[in-house]
Symmetry: C2
Subunit: 231 residues, 2 copies
């Protein structure tokens, strides 16, 4: 661990609030924890807490920024040591679960405004853009130089990001011990996915696969779910 960087007073207070809030969220859940609880636990007034975090959800956002940074720091080096594509994908997904494993109660808040395009915390809005990009970089790295058709290569990071969102949704609802059902689903899902990738580039299957691939690409481009390749 590097010498703890001297935190400005501002950052120290922020950190203090964040830590207190996460502790409470983990124990009581997101909704039952009030900003008054958080302020008290951090030894601050309610107003001061709002000075640092404009909304309760903003605290969860700050937590999630940290998750993303941690995920990058953990997954990228570990993937370098992984022996193949399948292994890299496993690392990408499982390290994410390792990081959030105790935080099901608080992650629900992240899913709250996904469907609401008018909300600043929408999944597709600018407030969450950096998080999306960071996450997608990890999947980018997981693919690495795996040999894939160009269009599949282009789609893959977003596909993996979407699968990873689904994984988190399943994880939130997974009451099995240690969320082992999620772990199993990830492993089985990735096996299938890798098989699909390899089929997508198998030379013998190209006559059947290629027109399907281009239909998919066209559909997603028109839906603006991926950026158009010709622009």
């Amino acid at each position: 661990m590097p010498a703890a960087p001297k935190l400005s007073k501002r950052d120290a207070t922020r950190e203090n609030i964040l830590t207190s809030a996460l502790k409470l969220f983990r124990v009581k859940g997101f909704e039952p924890t009030t900003m008054r609880d958080i302020a008290k636990s951090a030894g601050l007034s309610l107003g001061a807490s709002y000075y640092y975090f404009k909304t309760k959800e903003a605290i969860v956002m700050a937590y999630y920024d940290r998750v993303q940074a941690e995920h990058t720091a953990l997954a990228i080096p570990a993937m370098r040591k992984a022996k193949d594509f399948r292994a890299r994908l496993g690392v990408a997904m499982h390290t994410k679960l390792d990081i959030i494993k105790d935080d099901r109660r608080l992650l629900v808040a992240m899913f709250r405004y996904g469907g609401d395009p008018d909300h600043p915390l929408s999944w597709f809005g600018p407030a969450t853009k950096k998080q999306r990009e960071l996450a997608m970089e990890i999947f980018e790295a997981a693919i690495g130089d795996e040999k894939l058709p160009k269009d599949v290569r282009m789609l893959a990071p977003r596909l993996l990001w979407t699968a990873h969102m689904g994984m988190i949704l399943y994880f939130l609802n997974d009451r099995s011990a240690g969320q082992k059902k999620t772990r199993a689903l990830v492993d089985g899902g990735l096996d299938l996915l890798v098989q699909a990738f390899s089929m997508s580039s198998a030379p013998l299957l190209q006559p059947m696969v290629k027109p399907i691939r281009s239909k998919i690409v066209k559909l997603l481009e028109e839906a603006e779910l991926v950026e158009s390749s010709k622009s």
Copy 2:
């Protein structure tokens, strides 16, 4: 239109509140509309409104019950007239969009607690079970007697329900005029889906397809995303 069924006073008042609330939600959105607004607009006291709807979300739930009933009433007869599987699927999806087309602002409230297993309005909870089942019955009917492998046949309604949830999520975020991007995505998506179904049962492809199918079934059963077939 059949002679308006005589509503009990209770039902008339409920209806009145619901109508007033929906009007406000459509104009102002879900969150900015207060129960006070709704009560005033319905010409009732705040207490009376709460007498009929315990929470603000309960109003949206009542709306969604109505959507489901309407969807059944609209889609089932229309599907009988449709000429084939693809057409029935198109009817199932597009009639849903027809019904909710002006209600993007209020449907966001339905997505709010989807990821939260502790919330009564969770997507997977008992409060929303009847809605899920009603929706799945429609997809059941859309499949009809289409010739499909037994395992695919079993999975298909849930697959379609999931796709339909994705459609709604896209729809909520679709700012194109008349949400025509959603319509196009549905059409293209269904074309691909039907192609996938037909490949799943094509005799020539069975050697390749069958092991994949059983892997998928096993995975979903273990994840309890479908009920086990052997029980």
